[in-house]
Symmetry: C2
Subunit: 352 residues, 2 copies
């Protein structure tokens, strides 16, 4: 009755391995593995024996061994510029929930907007720490080796929110151009002609697209763009404050302000109210995103709704399909936005 090189039962303080369970239940490690991963292919008798040993020993298979053998980490890395942002948080929440159902875990990559951190997370994927990448930032963070074809070097990627120009990766987007256009057309329909825009961070695809929508809507209405009314922001609260202060200094003030994010709209509203302006009687404010606080502002914020949960779900679904070989990369999903008319926008003031 020899020790097969397995640990003895006496030594029960040590963490049990698959060999220990095999020894205890009198089967081979292979059978233990099969019992846990693929119960159908072992006989009921063996299954019972093994499960008993597993439960009594409190055995959980070590992920290290399994990962090495299968060359899969079971992780998906989410690369985002700012987890603190309501939009991102809402998306990642949906992602995490769906990923967990499918047996995957989420590695959080908050880049704080820094390209070197984006690189870091890309490396993690390339070193096998993650099986796939969900990319919400606007740089291409992967190091490519010119000797090899691009497709071979990239892990499965799904790109959302900020469209990155990489050939053949899947994307989940809303139509930012149409969204911004809808926002501006709403203001135009209320009679506004001097409509300011508070943009997001310079050169991000989403900002450029929303700007395009803004310009297109004004063009169509035959209104010339006034560069003074187009202010640079960064999607954050404080930049909304700064932008509004800047706009209030203008000789000819806008009658409506379209902020490219709700956060900036909230910042702008607070500046107006502090300075005694009435919203929307004096100035209309329009946001973008429809974060949960938007409808609770006083006045409630008119904005463009983004379907965060659907975006998250679509992203993870596309990625999982790719990981399981159920579909090819390069797919594109466009999700609908929605105009939410609330109290922060109203007819253009007639008295000036």
């Amino acid at each position: 009755m020899g020790n097969h090189g397995y640990r003895t039962r006496e030594n029960f303080l040590a963490k049990l391995g698959i060999k220990d369970i095999a020894a205890i239940s009198g089967v081979s490690p292979a059978t233990v593995s099969r019992t846990l991963r693929n119960p159908d292919i072992v006989s009921e008798e063996t299954r019972k024996k093994v499960m008993k040993a597993v439960e009594e020993g409190g055995y959980t298979p070590s992920r290290f061994g399994a990962n090495l053998r299968t060359q899969k980490s079971g992780n998906i890395i989410v690369v985002m510029p700012d987890i603190t942002n309501q939009v991102n948080a809402g998306i990642i929440r949906a992602i995490e929930s769906e990923a967990q159902k499918a047996g995957y875990s989420i590695l959080l990559g908050d880049t704080q907007g820094l390209p070197e951190r984006e690189k870091h997370y890309a490396n993690m994927a390339q070193s096998g720490q993650a099986d796939g990448v969900l990319l919400f930032t606007f740089h291409m963070p992967f190091n490519l080796n010119e000797n090899q074809p691009v497709a071979k070097q990239l892990p499965p990627i799904v790109n959302s929110c900020e469209s990155i120009p990489i050939e053949g990766i899947s994307k989940v987007m809303i139509d930012n151009i149409a969204g911004a256009r809808t926002a501006v057309e709403h203001l135009l329909s209320l009679g506004h002609k001097r409509i300011a825009a508070v943009m997001g961070p310079r050169d991000t695809p989403s900002t450029l697209e929303r700007l395009e929508g803004y310009q297109a809507a004004l063009n169509d209405a035959g209104i010339k763009i006034d560069e003074q009314l187009v202010i640079r922001g960064d999607y954050g609260l404080d930049s909304g404050i700064g932008a509004m202060e800047q706009l209030l200094k203008l000789r000819l003030r806008p009658t409506a302000v379209f902020c490219f994010s709700d956060d900036m709209a909230i910042g702008a509203m607070s500046v107006l109210q502090e300075n005694g302006f009435r919203i929307p009687q004096d100035i209309s404010i329009m946001g973008f995103d429809d974060i949960r606080y938007a409808r609770l502002m006083t006045p409630a914020l008119t904005t463009i709704h983004q379907p965060l949960e659907e975006i998250g779900k679509a992203c993870i679904e596309l990625l999982l399909d790719q990981l399981d070989g159920r579909s090819e990369p390069g797919r594109y999903i466009e999700l609908p936005f929605k105009l939410m008319v609330r109290q922060s926008t109203g007819p253009v003031p007639t008295d000036r």
Copy 2:
């Protein structure tokens, strides 16, 4: 000139392993490993040779092999009830940033308040998917085996926000009792006597503690607690709305409302303003947390500030110390809160 069992250079589309790099640079795999992990102990000449091969081959060490060998994942799992919550998001952001500096990655565990999901994430730690756990939920999610001592079975844990009664784990907290007391004393100092409380989720430690502070402050002021003024909430926006609606139906309304979270305070404010009440002239509103939107409300929300970044940093620091053996578990760090007096609280109305 034999093939050592390593892949040949011709085969360059395949991913290179440490043996390939070793073969290319004419050293042993051990030396390659040393060059990357511990450059100081290899000669400069060898280091150059190896680094050249590493760069040209675009080699990144596989984490699978390293993890298995070292029995470390390099991951830390953060278990939180809701990443969408500004408080949690702020904390996890600081955590992630510090963890990355130390070479660790963050696994996101958003439990959505479900105990089974907490269990799931605990299992991940126990199966080696994470080296340590940051616990922000209020259940004890670990399965313990009665045959073994408790301490042996738990991974390194740091507990924050909601205090969990487990012997010997480290904690990072603010003094919720004192925080709530400070809030209520602020209202008392303005002359309020009918002060309502909108609580968090029932039976959570933080709610119980804040309730205790509320009761203590009123007791000290010789004011009897009116059970009608103590409303159950869940820290979310909507429960603030519901609570305020309930309070407005009362025959004898409160002159001030202390919400145990800013989100509930924001919900409450919107109800008041919708119904034509002036804040703070008719009713004062007080929050807890000082989320970034608090100061931008109109009126700006008076609240208790929680140092989110410091909390996150303290958590990860404690955990890293423990992982590196620099300190023992069971430490306790208390961080200071701060009363932020803004415009949503004012003197008690005299006209009634």
